[in-house]
Every structure is written in C-alpha cells, then in structure tokens.
Amino acid sequence: MAAPAAAGAFEGIDAEREVIWGFTRPQLITFGLMLAFILVAPFFLYPVFLMKVLCFALFACAFNLLIGYVGLLSFGHAAYFGMGGYLAGHAAKVWGATPEVSILIGGLVAGILGWLIGMLAIRRQGIYFAMITLAMAQMVYFFCVQAPFTNGEDGIQAIPRGNFLGSVSMAADMSMYWLVAGVFIAAFLFIHRVINSPFGQVMKAIRENEPRAISLGYRVDDYKLMAFIISAAISGVAGGTKSIVFGIATLTDVFWSMSGEVVLMSLVGGLGTLFGPVAGAAIIITMQNYLAEFGAWVTVIQGVIFVLCVLAFRRGVIGEIGRLLKVRL
C-alpha cells in the first residue's frame, strides 16, 4: 500500500534536508521530544503502563517497516510478537537466562519464524499476501494451543524478570523501565537506520514500483524477505520484552486480534511515517486502559476507529500533523 503520497510531496523544501544520522531537522526535533518524554515520563506516569506502551510502540514500528516502506500488509504479525514472548518467557523461566538474553532469544526465534513464513508469503502479492500471513499466523496460534512448552490456555506464568547482565536486579519497575526504554530506543534507531540505508532505498523503490525495481536488476524477493525477517525479529523482541515485563506469556499475544491491533496502531498514527506507530500505540493502549471495564465495547470502538481512519483519516495523526506543518515526520 503506497503511503499516502508523503514521500516526494515535499521535495525541495528546506526541511527535507538531512541534518544528521538520516534525520531531517523536524524529525530530529521530534526524536528529541520523544527521547525527553521517555526520560521524564516515568517520574509522572505509572512505569508499567509506559513499558506496555513502549513494547507496543516497538511492535508497531516493526510492523510499519513492512507496510510503510515495502508496501507489504502483514495481517499475521501476532505470530512473531507472541512467539517472541513465549520463547523469551521460556528462556527466562526454564533455562534461567538473564532478561537481555531472553529478549534476544525471543527476537531470534521470531526472526526464524519470519524467515519461514516470509518465504511462503512473498510468493503472492497484495491481498493474497495479507491472507497468507494471516492464515500462517493462525497456524502458529494452533501450534501454541497444543505445544507443551506454552502451557496451552494457562500460558507461561510467573516469568522472573531476573538480573540484567546477571548482576542488576530488574525486580523494581523503575530498573525494568530503563531496560525497556533502552531496548526501544536502540531498536527504533536500528529501524531508522535500515530505512535510510541503501537497502532501505531499494525497499522504497519496491513499494513505489515493483516491476521497475525488478527491471533495474534488484532481486526484489530477496529484499522483501530480508525486510520481513527484520520486521518479524523486532516484533519478537517487542513481544519478548513484554513478557519479561509482565511475567506472563499467553495465547492472547498470538491470536489474530493482536495482529489487527498492531495494524490499527500503525494506521491511527500514520502508515509510512517514522513516529506514527509510536503515537498510534500510545493512543490505542491509553484508550484500552480507560475502556478496560467496558468489555466488548473496546472491540466495537476499535472497529469504529478502523472504519473512520480508512474512510476519512488515512494519513493518521502524525501524517496529518506533518501535512499541516509541511514536513515529513
């Protein structure tokens, strides 16, 4: 799906010039604001809530890497998020791994899973790609229902947070928060680096015009698969971090509704924008937090937001702000 004509529309404007590390000036300012917020927020807001937001923000950024920059809509990203969560939880609880190793194991396994599913999914395009990723994710879900290490309906419970690098205890929310914040910022910068690398330029070329990218000699399938693997692995890191934070990994995180939620977050924030998925995740998680007691109404409201975004608000929050300020965020 072409990101709504954001790229190219503001060519030649001064704000487009790269200042440092591939950031344009407005992007650098926004990044600074985000960084400041991450540093200050835990002193005002509940750290566990913030950690949840950061985990989902990372998940949405990973998803957005595919839809926003390669134009591939994956409707099965819950598989990597959930699987990363299970494996990180298993590593921490059963193997006694330290939190950072557990999270990396989650990312690694999700990446391998992404490699397997990605190989199948990139054989078809557009709508079929979405359906294949959704179906394969459902298969992963059924696998998780039956596999012994996931404990079926109960999930993996009482996952210890452990000691960072084997020495610093993560039991206190504040210490855990800084680890999560570190993981998020590192992964966010990594995604940004990928987008602004020569590899990322080819990704965008595929999004804009796949036949032309092929005719220029790029092995499009290899690029798509690599992007898919990166996206899956980062989703796994996000899922792994979440299960370490909350001490629990359950079937909810592999279910199709989770795949829908990450689509919603990216859509609300703005597909193909750098900061959109972060804003979208913050909005949706905050909403879920306030509406938790209303049960099924949360589903209805999420559906309504979906419909409104698609019909009238396709640029998303950050996309609209960028359009008003005439900058790319």
């Binding site: 799906m1 072409a2 809509l73 409707f75 199948l120 054989r123 078809r124 557009g126 709508i127 079929y128 979405a130 359906m131 294949i132 959704l134 179906a135 394969m136 459902q138 298969m139 059924f142 696998f143 229902v145 039956q146 199709w256 829908g260 689509v263 859509l267 049960g295 099924a296 109404w297 949360v298 589903t299 209805v300 999420q302 559906g303 309504v304 937001i305 979906f306 419909v307 975004c309 698609v310 019909l311 396709r314």
Partner: protein, 293 residues
C-alpha cells in the same frame, strides 16, 4: 468393518463432519470469490455476516416465531440488505484506492458487528433446534447418518451449483463476468456497473448469511462463530485461487474432507492441516490450484 484399523462408523462419521465443514468453506469462499471478482475487495466482514445469518435465524424464531424454513429465505435477504447498505455507505468510497484499504475497512466493520453482538448476547452460544422434519437419523448399514447433516451437505452443494449456473449460464451472469474483466467497457455499453457491484456485494453477503442459517442448528449460535472460520476460508481461497467458481467449491469440499480424515488418522494436526496444505500449494503452485498466474 475396519479400514486401516479404524472402525468404519468413526471413519465415515468424521468424513461426514468433514463434508459439512467443507460445505461451509465452499459457500463462504464462493461468496468471497464473487465479491472479490467484482469489487476487488476481500470481504473481511464475511465471517461476521455468516454469524449474522445464524443470529437472524435465532431472532426470527425467538422474536417473531418464524421457524427454520422461513429463516432460510428471510435471513439471507435481511443480512443481504444490511450488506447493500454497508456497500453504498462505505465500501463504495474505496474502489479508487489501494485494495488493502478495503481489507482494513471490512476488518473494522467485522470487529464492530462482532463486538455489538457480544455485548447483546454474551459469548456463550444460544441453542437453535433442528427443524422437526429433519430430526432423526438414517441407518445406512455402516453408520447412522443424522438427517440434518446430510441435508446441509446437499443444500450447500445445490446452492453452489445454482450460483455457478447464474454466473455462467444467465444473461446477468454474463454481464457480471464481463464487468469483472473490464468494468469501463461494460459501463460504456449502458450497463449500470456501480449498481451491479452493490447487488453483487449483497448477493455474496446473502450467501454467507444462508450458510449461517444452515450452521445454526449444528454449531451453537455465538458471536465468534464466524471470525475463526473466516481465517480458514482465507486459506481455502489462497489454495483454490479466486479465478474459478467451480474451483473454489471443489477446494472447499476437498479441504473439509482432508480435515475430517486428519481428525481420524492424526488428530493433533487437524486444526493446522489446511494451513499446511496452503504452504505446500504456495511452494508448488503459487497461483493456487485453479488460479491464473
């Protein structure tokens, strides 16, 4: 009488269950294929509309005293009309955009519908009785066949056949096929293509609701009955390819039977077998069994 060490009643019982599931796969994937052919939208709301069909049957019975036979006619019409309204108000706005927006919109609509029904009726299922005429079972010698289950397979088969006949053998079907190939040209001949798109969507939705009514006495009527089914149907559609009507019907029934047999020989894999078949088909024939590359 045993087959490969499996008692015949078990084998045939699962085979019949497989055929029934296959009947629903066939009806639903047929509706998806017809809608996709005409509108270029993958109707993610299809599962919710299947569920609405079952609930419409339940409501017609409990609020208006209209039984199964009336519901079999009325429920598809009612749900079809809601589909037409959705198409006019929302889906029609997206035809000029990327197809994926249609997928996202219909996904959102599905969430809304499912959530509303869950608020109203809860998550536990509501019972719907098999109509008196179809109760009981036949003794076929090697197994007992509940009459209603045989009826479902038969009716679904004829509904698929009728859809195929309408599309392939009637004048309106020929317009439909032509408009699928080249809508601008068909419109130039004075045929109202937008209205055809609306009616096609309504008909596809009605087909889903019809399947829902058939399903009501077999599965319990509950708000989630469609969402889990629709993902399997997506896999069926990927396997069959959406190019051919008969193809999607055959794939639907065939996969139902494969699933049933898996339940007998290797039950652990019964929930995943269709996705495994999909993976194999993607490796061997990426366009799908009946698809055009």
């Amino acid at each position: 009488m045993d087959f490969f060490g499996i008692p015949a009643p078990l084998l045939f019982g699962q085979l019949l269950l497989g055929l029934i599931n296959g009947a629903f796969y066939a009806l639903l994937s047929l509706g998806l294929a017809v809608i996709f052919g005409m509108l270029n939208v993958i109707n993610f709301t299809h599962g919710a509309q299947f569920m609405m069909g079952a609930f419409a049957a339940w409501m017609l019975l409990n609020y208006f005293g209209i039984g199964y036979w009336g519901a079999l006619i009325l429920a598809p019409i009612i749900v079809g009309i809601t589909g037409i309204i959705l198409e006019r108000l929302m889906i029609a706005k997206l035809y000029k955009l990327d197809h994926l927006y249609g997928l996202l919109l219909t996904f959102g609509l599905g969430l809304i519908i499912e959530g509303l029904f869950r608020n109203e009726f809860g998550s536990s299922g509501l019972p719907y009785r098999i109509p008196a005429e179809l109760q009981g079972a036949w003794d076929l010698g090697f197994m007992f066949m509940p009459i209603y289950r045989g009826w479902v397979v038969l009716v679904a088969f004829f509904a698929c056949l009728a859809t195929w006949l309408v599309i392939e053998k009637t004048k309106i079907g020929s317009y439909l096929r032509a408009a699928t190939e080249n809508p601008a040209l068909v419109q130039a001949f004075g045929i109202n293509v937008p209205r055809m798109m609306t009616l096609t969507y309504g008909a596809g939705v009605a087909l889903a609701a019809f399947a829902g009514v058939l399903a009501a006495p077999i599965y319990s009527v509950n708000p989630q009955m469609g969402s889990n089914l629709i993902i399997i149907v997506f896999a069926v559609v990927v396997i069959g390819g959406m190019g051919s009507i008969l193809g999607s019907v055959l794939t639907g029934f065939g996969l139902g039977v494969i699933e049933g047999l898996t339940k007998v020989f290797y039950p652990e894999a019964s929930s995943t077998v269709i996705f495994v078949v999909m993976a194999i088909v993607l490796l061997a024939r990426p366009a799908g069994l009946f698809g055009r590359a």
